[in-house]
Subunit: 353 residues, 2 copies
């Protein structure tokens, strides 16, 4: 096993002392980078996901170009429902479409159980390849969507404003919803375990849509399945687990007890207040408003400073945006942010809490 | 001045004792009603807003058909920027478009100051007419958008996922943003005062987009202008002011001190927890997930009961959905909800807190 040279991210996940705050950003292997767009010209989005050489190449780009402290494997959360048998159309920028969405008990029967090393071998190959090509410079993160988030896409079939089909299913066929969620949780658990087996040093679960639920529905339909994954993953080396819950402002104390090492926060949370609220139980990742990268350099630094100050002194903070980097951001702006966090965060690690 | 026969809503806004919990729902004069769609066939959305007879007619429909405890004047928050000189295209269901959006200092100069009784006389006529035709059965609510919410539409020009133009303006031209927000706050203040003058018994400010801001940005760009309106409205008879902040979960204590009588909550808040958090400083309105109306009757009642129980005993609760009623909801489902709240909420008003 290759020793990782820059393991700041991994130590921060475990709330161990670090010299400075590590930083990576969600969707850092993406369209804002001209080098990514150049590869994207040659292949469509799903082909990139399914071609390990291309996926590994764009995974490593932000490490080389921006200097982030972790890589995240280039992929998509919807490869799981696709592997289970749902036909997926993916037009980057326009959003994914399942032309034949999940609605009934018979749709459940059609979903295959998957062996990630078979149906999703291309992901594991991409992870192994990226891991090898990183040569231990920084850790590699694997990820999946939360079962509730996957279900939202599968049931709606395409972008939705009101989640009519999803919510109707939750309220009128709760048993079917729970069966689907359970099946997805099993698939995600096997998938993340396989990614670790293939070389991932940490994993993140994206609960992008949990925040559209009422607090009670979140406790019924999203959190238990996140917990099932977190507690079911087979690890090699105590790899940390991050749970990112967008809009999930209401059950943070419960979420902090789900077994994850790190909670990822969106930009509407005050990271310092959350740290106090959960009593420092987990490390925290985030949470600069991604649109701050539309601002000038001074404003970017000012806003980054506010996040560092809000978290305050001591270990356990992984700097990130509060959501994915936006495709029309100038990459030099991200570089400004990353350089600022690298050069200025040290002082928060000298003082004790 | 006509005495209002059913004044439960007004008393609840003031946290006075009531026999039961009053209920109305946001967007109750809307597409889910066949009677509304019949009128809508004859006139487009903006024509309906600008024809007092039609606006008054659909305003009163849910009082007759559903039996809600308050009427809200049929209109749109964007009539203010339109009256200030911006060309507005409105396609119901597709969202509003400003083909020439607000972006620069010169756009600010183009915005006219308005006299609501001139440029928006059609709204005041609709209010007077609806008030007359209601014959004092229930109170009539007037409304406006928050300055930040109006600005979001004006700057983006159309539906937006990332709010690129808006956020760029906030971060790179904050002085221009503040000048626009101030001008809008003045217009909204005059507009709500005029609605009260014309006969509105209460007013609501919709801050639909405040929740896309970080807590610090919300305190800079949204809350101060809501406060300016709340404290600037000219009243006739201590008409209550409701502030509905969608997604504004992070500054509820500050929002509760803005001078409003009532806070409107979306469905991601726990209404009981908010009541305790703000120490009962204001009445609370809300907050059933609007998609619960896709459920069967028993589930609707069960979920409505949870909201009543969460708020708990004592006065100061106005039952509502946590967002507007969705256009594809069956109106008989809304009737089930309204009847349930009317028949079952009495017991929460017998006990003392």
């Amino acid at each position: 096993m290759s020793k990782i040279k820059n393991d700041l991210f991994l130590r921060a996940c475990k709330k161990q002392d670090t010299e400075r705050t590590p930083i990576w950003v969600m969707r850092q292997a993406g369209r804002y980078l001209p080098e990514y767009r150049k590869i994207r010209e040659k292949a469509d989005f799903l082909t990139m996901c399914k071609t390990p050489e291309l996926a590994a190449e764009v995974t490593i780009q932000p490490v080389d170009i921006i200097g982030v402290d972790a890589a995240i494997i280039f992929s998509d959360i919807l490869v799981i429902p696709e592997a289970m048998g749902m036909f997926l159309e993916m037009n980057e920028g326009k959003g994914p479409v399942f032309p034949d969405p999940f609605r009934t008990e018979s749709d459940l029967k059609k979903l295959k159980s998957i062996d990630p090393f078979k149906e999703l071998k291309f992901v594991m190959d991409a992870v192994s390849l990226a891991k090898r090509e990183l040569k231990g410079r920084v850790p590699l993160i694997g990820f999946c969507g939360s079962p509730f988030t996957l279900m939202t896409y599968m049931v709606e079939g395409k972008g939705s404003k009101n989640y009519t089909y999803l919510k109707s299913l939750l309220y009128n066929k709760p048993l079917l919803a729970h069966k689907l969620l359970d099946k997805l949780a099993d698939a995600c658990t096997a998938y993340l375990s396989a990614k670790i087996e293939a070389g991932a040093d940490a994993v993140q679960i994206f609960d992008t849509w949990g925040g559209i639920l009422s607090p009670a529905d979140y406790l019924e339909f999203s959190l238990p399945y996140i917990e099932k994954i977190v507690n079911g993953i087979t690890k090699k080396n105590a790899e940390p687990v991050i749970v990112f819950g967008k809009g999930v402002h209401y059950k943070l104390k419960k979420l902090a007890k789900c077994g994850a090492d790190v909670l990822g926060l969106d930009w509407t949370m005050n990271i310092g207040a959350v740290r106090r609220k959960i009593g420092g139980r987990t490390a925290l990742q985030g949470n600069l408003d991604p649109t701050v990268l539309y601002a000038n350099e001074d404003k970017i630094k000012e806003e980054a400073k506010k996040v560092l100050e809000s978290y305050g002194p001591g270990p356990g903070h992984i700097f990130n945006l509060g959501h994915g980097i936006l495709p029309d951001v100038d990459p030099t702006k991200l570089k400004v942010l990353v350089d600022y966090v690298k050069s200025e965060s040290g002082k928060y690690h000298k003082e004790k809490m």
